[in-house]
């Protein structure tokens, strides 16, 4: 039974994740590939050459996307960590409402929210700016971060921190030596989620960024509707590369602490 389950999981993983990526790799090197051929009739690196040329803007967009995602993660940690701690550790009147308000962005269509927020952002000179895009990315990203972290804190023992305090650690060092190592696996997962949410934002970046802040999805999407399949494939490979890289880099942390992953669904 166990072996069957594992086998199925591996199969689903290959069919669902690796095969599409493989087809993208093939597409990106295809010179011409027309129906009904099962294999490209011609190979070429035209798509990759285009990608690396300055006119494609891929380099700038890659940098922008990374900077956006990292800033969003940083802000999510600063805003979300205290919120998650309170939600995970304490019970107070109206906690359900607060939780609901925090998760609401996951249920309300982003487009609706953006329409309303756009006017506000224009008034406060946030439209068409980097910070504006960061703030709008936080709307869908923060709920993920807080949900994951509050479940981490729900299984968290404050006694460790209290012991450290009485042993002579001030609040800052208690956080550094005790809190941070304890929540680290969960924090990695939460930051990963947050990064990927920001990384894959399209509509919000387009509307609030107003075309001034160019992120990778904004380069990618026009290619998909255009005819150049090879270019689209090349850009999408660049697009998913960081995600896979992060996943591989963090897989050790995630594997070592299965409870960090397992507790996500608990809150």
């Amino acid at each position: 039974m166990n072996r069957f389950l594992r086998g199925s999981a591996v199969t689903i993983l290959i069919v669902g994740v690796l095969l599409p990526i493989l087809s993208q790799v093939i597409w990106s090197f295809a010179g011409s590939w027309f129906f009904p051929a099962l294999w490209p009739q011609q190979w070429g690196v035209k798509a990759w050459r285009y990608l690396l040329s300055p006119s494609s803007q891929v380099g700038v967009a890659l940098w922008n996307s990374a900077l956006l995602a990292c800033t969003v993660v940083g802000l999510a940690v600063i805003i979300g960590l205290p919120a998650a701690r309170v939600l995970g550790l304490h019970h107070f009147r109206g906690k359900q409402w607060v939780t609901w308000l925090i998760t609401a962005p996951l249920f309300v269509p982003t487009l609706v929210v953006i329409m309303g927020i756009h006017i506000l952002f224009i008034r406060y000179n946030l439209a068409d700016t980097f910070m504006g895009v960061v703030l709008v990315h936080l709307i869908p990203a923060l709920p993920y971060f807080i949900l994951v972290m509050s479940s981490v804190f729900a299984n968290y023992a404050t006694e460790f921190e209290e012991t450290a305090r009485t042993l002579g650690a001030d609040p800052l060092r208690t956080f550094w030596y005790i809190t941070l190592p304890t929540i680290f696996p969960g924090l990695t997962v939460a930051m990963l989620f947050t990064f990927l949410v920001s990384w894959s934002q399209y509509i919000t970046t387009v509307l609030i960024g107003g075309g001034r802040v160019v992120s990778l999805p904004m380069i990618l999407f026009p290619f998909i509707s255009a005819t150049s399949h090879a270019n689209a494939a090349a850009v999408s490979l660049v697009f998913i590369f960081p995600a896979i890289l992060i996943l591989i880099l963090t897989s050790r942390t995630l594997g070592a602490s299965s409870d960090a992953m397992g507790s996500i669904g608990r809150v």
Partner: protein, 350 residues
């Protein structure tokens, strides 16, 4: 090492008054137990002493000086919790050395002192072991070492023996006592188990519902309880109302002679006597007997070393511990003898 003094200490959580006007003095180098049922405010009191909770009112003094404004990291009151003892992401040496590291002690001296401390708690060579590879008793000893290494003013222990089995409890008790006496450290520990309090502490403070009921040497809780609550907590439910007149108490069963008055004036009192001090008298001795009461056996339980008899004494339900070879059955009518030396008077608090 210091004296600890609590002055009218109170803590309120919203509507709940967890600790009410607590006055307590712990001498330097004394080992005091805060005893009480769960939710009586004893752990709240410990957290306030450690500085982890701010009192609603009242004062805490170490060596005569108020420490209310001193944050926990500089107060010198180390707390050892019952659960979540060791930092799980550190090995034994890092756990024990944590306090010294926070004080900026150089690595070589730190290592030396950690080793010395591990010797003291009888865990030599455990430096590199992972925290979660230790047994419960070993973890407790490492936690003690981690606390003692910084030479705290006061050591606060939360249920130090609760998670240990019978053999380990005895061993741990001896270790705590020894350490406390060799280092002369002031210790306060919290427990809900009256035996643990009695066997470990110099003095016991019994708290119920956030209120200190009696602060005394262990023996006094058995021999000289000051209220029915105290007597009940130490498993004495034998009470009998009467009116004290001189050396005797007039009860519904006649006059009973007493030897100790507990400083009470003549008037309504409650008589009490511990189950193990009641004697069963021969049934035919009713005539002309002193301090004897008729009793009916309700239930008999064999307790190993003795028989526990649930008895009806008039309208009162009493417990009597009789020798294991006593022949008694439910429904038997017996006479019980109350030796005057063991009768104790409590103010009628109703």
């Amino acid at each position: 090492m210091t004296t600890v003094q609590l002055n009218a200490l109170s803590k309120q959580f919203h509507a709940l008054e967890a600790v009410k006007q607590l006055d307590l003095e712990v001498a330097s180098g004394e080992l005091v137990a805060l005893l009480g049922p769960s939710g009586c405010g004893k752990t709240t009191t410990m957290r306030m002493i450690a500085g982890l909770l701010t009192p609603t009112s009242g004062d805490i003094l170490f060596g005569g000086r108020s420490v209310l404004a001193v944050p926990p990291e500089r107060r010198g009151a180390v707390m050892v919790f019952q659960k979540h003892l060791l930092f799980p992401h550190m090995n034994v040496a890092d756990n024990v050395g944590f306090g010294l590291k926070m004080r900026g002690i150089p690595k070589t001296e730190l290592d030396r002192r950690v080793s010395a401390m591990l010797d003291l708690v009888q865990l030599p060579g455990f430096e590199g072991r992972r925290a979660d590879s230790l047994s419960g008793g070993q973890q407790q000893r490492v936690a003690l070492a981690r606390a003692l290494i910084i030479e705290p003013q006061v050591l606060l222990l939360d249920e130090p023996l609760a998670n240990l089995d019978a053999n380990l409890r005895l061993e741990m008790r001896r270790l705590i006592r020894n350490l406390q006496q060799t280092l002369g450290i002031t210790m306060i520990f919290v427990t809900h188990d009256q035996e643990e309090a009695v066997m470990l502490a110099d003095r016991v403070a019994l708290m119920v519902g956030g209120v200190l009921h009696q602060y005394d040497e262990p023996r006094a809780f058995y021999e000289r309880p000051q209220s029915t609550t105290v007597a009940r907590f130490f498993r004495n439910e034998n009470f009998l109302a009467g009116v004290k007149r001189g050396n005797g108490v007039q009860t519904e069963f006649g006059r009973l002679e007493v030897q100790q008055s507990n400083g009470l004036a003549d008037g309504p009192v409650l008589l009490t006597i511990r189950p193990e001090h009641i004697q069963l008298a021969p049934t035919d001795s009713m005539a002309d007997a002193n301090n004897e009461l008729p009793a009916i056996v309700d239930a008999v339980t064999y307790m190993g070393g003795y028989l526990q008899l649930q008895m009806k004494v008039g309208k009162y339900a009493w417990t009597v511990h009789a020798p294991a070879n006593t022949k008694a059955q439910t429904g038997d009518q017996l006479t019980i003898h109350l030796p005057p030396a063991y009768l104790w008077l409590i103010a009628d608090d109703k």
